[in-house]
C-alpha cells in the first residue's frame, strides 16, 4: 500500500527536519534541513545548503536510508518519524535530497510509541491522526 501523507504531516514537515544517515560502521550522521523544497504524497525534497549536506554526504553515498523528525516546536507537537531512501541532485549552491518515504512511525509517548503507520490506508491514517491531533504549525 502506498504512502499518502496527511495534510497535517505535510505542513509540519515543511517547518524543517533533522536527518539521520548512517555509515558502514553504523555511526549516525545527523544534519539539519531548514528548507524543504516540496512535499508530495510519498516524497519529501529537502533543499540543503552545502554545509548541511557535507555532514551526510559520505554516508549517504554508501547507504541511502534516511530517517527524519521535525525541528522546533514540531518535536513536541508532531510525534512522528519518517524513513525512506534518499537520492541527491546538486544544482548550484543547493543540494536537493529527495527522500522516497517507505515507513512512518508514531513517536507519541505512551501506547502509540513505535506504532507503524505506513501500513494503514490513507483514509485510515487520516482518521487515526484526526483522533489524536488537529493542530497545524503557525504560519511564519
Amino acid at each position: 500500500m502506498g504512502i499518502v501523507l496527511t495534510n497535517r504531516m505535510r505542513e509540519w514537515i515543511k517547518t524543517g527536519c533533522l536527518l539521520n544517515v548512517t555509515d558502514k560502521r553504523g555511526s549516525p550522521h545527523v544534519t539539519i534541513a531548514r528548507k524543504i523544497d516540496s512535499v508530495s504524497d510519498d516524497e519529501v525534497v529537502f533543499a540543503l545548503t552545502k554545509d548541511e549536506y557535507s555532514v551526510i554526504k559520505d554516508a549517504l553515498s554508501k547507504d541511502s536510508w534516511v530517517a527524519f523528525g521535525i525541528i522546533g516546536i514540531g518535536s513536541i507537537r508532531f510525534c512522528y518519524q519518517f524513513k525512506g531512501k534518499g537520492k541527491v541532485k546538486e544544482k548550484g549552491d543547493t543540494v536537493y535530497l529527495t527522500v522516497k518515504l517507505l515507513e512512518i512511525y508514531c513517536t507519541k509517548p505512551g501506547c502509540y510509541a513505535g506504532l507503524r503507520l505506513d501500513l494503514k490506508s490513507p483514509e485510515e491514517l487520516e482518521a487515526w491522526e484526526k483522533e489524536l491531533w488537529t493542530d497545524s504549525p503557525k504560519k511564519k
Binding site: T22, D23, S54
Partner: protein, 161 residues
C-alpha cells in the same frame, strides 16, 4: 577528552527547567537509521548525557547491537544551542550489576539518581494531548560524548569539541 561547556549542560536538561527537547539518533548494525524525540535529558560529570528509557523500541534494540549514538538539540532551534553530541551509548536497565561501568560511570550512580525520573522531574510543561498517562521507566541511556559538532546556520558540521 570532551568537556561539556556550562551552556551545553544548561541545554541538556528537561524543557520545563529551561532545557531542550532532544533527538536520539541511532542505527541498527546493518545501517538503518532511527531518530526519535525525547524529553527526559540530563548530564552527569563532564562528558555524559542521560536520557530516560521509557518508551524506547528501535532505539533500545539498536543500542543493544550498536552503541554508536548522537543526541541533537531539536527544540529550541537557532537559539545558540544548535549542537550534535556524538559518542557511544548504553541503555542501563534495571538488573544491571551496580558496578557496571560505562566510561567511568556506574549503573548504581545512574539509577540511584535518575532511575525514577518521572517523579523527580514530572512533565508539567508537556501539552495534555502529548503527555502520557502512565510512564514505565525501564532504565537510563547513557551517552559517553566523544565529539560535539554544530548544526548552526552557516556552520553545520563544524567541530566544536
Amino acid at each position: 577528552m570532551v568537556k561539556l561547556t556550562p551552556e551545553m549542560k544548561e541545554a541538556l536538561i528537561v524543557p520545563g527547567k529551561g532545557g531542550s527537547v532532544i533527538y536520539l539518533a541511532t542505527s541498527s548494525i546493518d545501517g538503518k537509521p532511527n531518530i526519535a524525540a525525547m524529553r527526559y535529558i540530563a548530564t552527569m560529570k563532564d562528558d555524559k548525557a542521560l536520557v530516560a528509557d521509557m518508551f524506547l523500541l528501535k532505539t533500545k534494540r539498536n543500542l543493544k547491537e550498536n552503541p554508536e549514538c548522537s543526541i541533537i538539540i531539536g527544540h529550541p532551534i537557532d537559539s545558540g544551542r544548535d549542537w550534535v553530541f556524538k559518542g557511544k551509548a548504553v541503555d542501563i536497565e534495571y538488573g544491571f550489576p551496580p558496578e557496571f561501568d560505562w566510561y567511568g560511570i556506574t549503573a548504581k550512580e545512574v539509577l540511584d539518581e535518575w532511575g525514577d525520573w518521572h517523579h523527580k522531574q514530572p512533565p508539567d510543561e508537556v501539552p495534555p494531548d502529548v503527555v502520557y498517562s502512565h510512564p514505565a521507566q525501564r532504565g537510563v541511556v547513557v551517552l559517553h560524548i566523544e565529539e560535539v559538532y554544530s548544526i548552526e546556520k552557516g556552520k553545520v558540521g563544524e567541530k566544536i569539541l
